[in-house]
Symmetry: C2
Subunit: 462 residues, 2 copies
């Protein structure tokens, strides 16, 4: 069997790359563990099912303000089975349609674990598949934390949490990163007492997310009743019917279950990388150049195995970068600085580019435009007037260095800035852009106007 | 009293222009009818209160799908007073903060009807205000329809509908334009039997909105129970306790009230335009050049009085165009082709630039990229997977000629395309843009990819 391109892994990165390669005329095949894993972690155990549950949580939060819209509830029952059913239906609909679409286009999927035999051969279940190019898109897996081993009964990670089909009374979530803050919000809104512990001194402790976003989010989660504990870790636990957990703040908490929202590791073991001479860094990530080429010329890699920035859209973009380069395009390039980070918790928290701290460190003389949603008429109409747009601009050139939005639909709003940043268009353009009124996007344009002219709205808050 | 700039009308256009002028160093004053009318039609009797009510309607529609998220309601009471209170609170909050902010900045507001005395003088309540520049931003008013005269009791227009503080049992809405489809959705979701009549053969009968959007919207409104009647008009009516209305389709309907969602006229009478030599066109609109300058050099106009495109953001943009030109900038220009139209009804319907029909008429050889939200994972997660992105692209140059989005948050999503269109960036750029996954914006980028490569999603629907 001879292909132009064989892709190891039909997750977000592999699938997008494969479809793109097909559309650009390549003969493509996928190798994927099983029919149940097509779509990868993001679809089956990650962003898609969690965003579904998060939407339910968001609806529940909206209902609390129903009275402002003349909507008075006479009572509410929360049913975990219906929630799980709805969620699993979306996941399987996407997965089955992925497969059907590939089939319709004549893209083959070989099931089983793919292993590199030589630089042009992948072996899967005894079959040998030849290809001019190979794209590694094998993704990542959960890692455990010390002696806390997920058992899928009382201790869960993001692989197993989906089997939890009842709402526990009390839940401990370990890790205040993207996973932790998302599930803390979800379960809290569905009535669970949630304790969220984070080792660092802030939630979302990533350099690329401004502290202000972390502070806003922590305040809101606390207001919703989440017991947020920073600079706190788990010392030990014992199963006494309930899980009795000793925390580093000296307290002991009894919970029904624990969710580990911590580390992932790249799936780079046991697929023959070393046999064909593909280099990895000390942490196990595959070394790639800006075209996503590995140390072997015709073998590329994308997604979670190329760096710790494990985002589905990074994988999708890198997959297209790789395919473009195979086809002789050099315009597309890997660029983590333009990758958005969007977290869906009690707020949408969206960031791209540099924070103020990072701009400072990199020696920029920068302006910041800050606009609060508190004075945005659309946000007020929607009852979601908390949050802000922060725009960071290089004073010398007007180049937009970063944008950080927290609040309603932040993840969508960010795109208008991302596109301009990638196009190298300066802040002056955005300051003179047209916006629709009323819209949330108005605040994005106003953040650019503020850089030039000063606040354009009646409330200025950071 | 001497100012750099006096603005007649502190509505959307005037207010934005005034603040912008202030930030650019001008000494500014407003003339506005009364403290209750600051903010103009949009704030007090238009987009802002209607979007508030529409958000309530949207929530009610979302609740119907609550069960999919494990949210089971035990009953619901709809209270029109609470709805009106919440709405009026947002309106007055914005209005009062507008005034406070102007006051804080030292921008004076003179109350009363302003009349031009000469090209540098406005008279208001006997006071004469001198200015180097004058900006006319007087907005528009409702017009009535034949013998249907709004009485604020049973017959309403968009000036008086806000006083309706009960939900009628049965309502007739005349006009399937932006106002009609918005209120039809609102009242329907709040349990009112709504009949919506439109003279033309489609809802939203505007050349700048594709027929596909009209069809989608009509289908959805009907599904929600709105009695949509196209090619239908009111022949006569009589008040028999209920209003008995004879329609051109031969039927007679009994309703409790009627909302006129029809015409507006520019407020260009009685403000002394003719006395200082400001020219108007046959329909009463003030003639302006691309810098919003009237036939009198130092007098500018913006918003509803410059053309039938009566959108708050058109006014806001034109206000800034005018001020920029007063200050010697020539970069900003009036351009209706880049003005977005966003309608908030049972869907958000957002359009900018040319439709396919218009591209055809203008002789373009064009591509269309069409992506359905039905295969968008975020839309599926949110239970809002109806609608589409249509991107119209000039085949010869790759220039984006138009974009039409119908579906979730269409009004926000459109901005990323609007900005690129204004910047003159071609579709190839958008096809290679980064998007966040999962996001609705993904479908926007995919519409551009489709133009280049073919469908990237498993469902293609128009």
């Amino acid at each position: 069997m001879n292909f132009d391109l064989v892709i190891l892994g039909a997750g977000s990165g592999g699938y997008e790359a494969g479809l793109y390669a097909y559309r650009r005329g390549m003969r493509v095949a996928f190798v994927e563990i099983s029919p149940q894993t097509v779509g990868g972690s993001c679809l089956n155990r990650g962003c898609i099912p969690s965003k579904y549950m998060r939407h339910g949580a968001y609806l529940l939060e909206k209902l609390r303000k129903g009275e402002n819209y003349g909507i008075l509830l006479k009572g509410l029952e929360l049913n975990p089975h219906k929630l799980a059913e709805g969620r699993d239906r979306v996941v399987s609909t996407i997965r089955e349609n992925f497969k059907k679409f590939a089939e319709k286009l004549g893209i083959q999927i070989f099931y089983g674990k793919g292993v590199l035999k030589d630089t042009n051969t992948v072996s899967v279940e005894g079959k040998e598949i030849k290809a001019n190019y190979i794209l590694l898109a094998t993704g990542s897996s959960c890692t455990s934390l010390g002696n806390l081993k997920p058992d899928g009964k009382k201790i869960f990670d993001t692989d197993s949490i989906w089997s939890l089909r009842e709402f526990p009374r009390r839940m401990l979530i370990i890790g205040g990163g993207a996973v932790g803050v998302e599930f803390a919000y979800i379960y809290r809104m569905y009535g669970v007492d949630v304790i969220l512990v984070e080792l660092m001194d802030r939630l979302l402790p990533y350099p690329s997310i401004p502290e202000e976003s972390s502070r806003y989010l922590a305040r809101k989660l606390k207001r919703l009743g989440v017991d947020v504990r920073l600079k706190t870790s788990v010392l030990s636990y014992s199963d006494e019917g309930v899980l009795r957990v000793n925390l580093s703040d000296g307290s002991t908490v009894d919970v029904d279950c624990i969710l580990l929202g911590v580390g992932r590791k790249p799936n780079t073991e046991g697929i023959g990388l070393e046999d064909v001479g593909i280099e990895r860094d000390g942490r196990g990530f595959v070394k790639v150049n800006e075209h996503c080429q590995t140390s072997v010329e015709n073998i590329y890699a994308c997604g979670d195995i190329t760096s710790p920035l494990m985002l589905a859209h990074k994988a999708m973009y890198e997959g297209k970068v790789a395919v473009s380069h195979m086809l002789g395009d050099t315009e597309w390039a890997r660029d983590e600085s333009l990758m958005p980070k969007v977290i869906y918790s009690a707020y949408e928290v969206a960031s791209v580019g540099l924070t103020e701290d990072q701009a400072e460190e990199e020696g920029y003389d920068y302006h910041v435009g800050i606009v609060s949603f508190m004075s945005n008429p659309k946000a007020m109409d929607d009852g979601e007037d908390e949050g802000f747009v922060r725009l960071i601009v290089d004073r010398a050139t007007g180049r937009i260095l970063g944008c950080h939005i927290l609040g309603p639909h932040a993840g969508e709003l960010l795109h208008q800035v991302m596109h301009l940043m990638k196009a190298g268009i300066d802040v002056k353009f955005l300051a003179s852009a047209v916006f629709s009124h009323p819209s949330l996007s108005e605040s994005v344009v106003q953040s650019a106007m503020e850089v030039y002219y000063g606040p354009m709205t009646w409330i200025k808050r950071g």
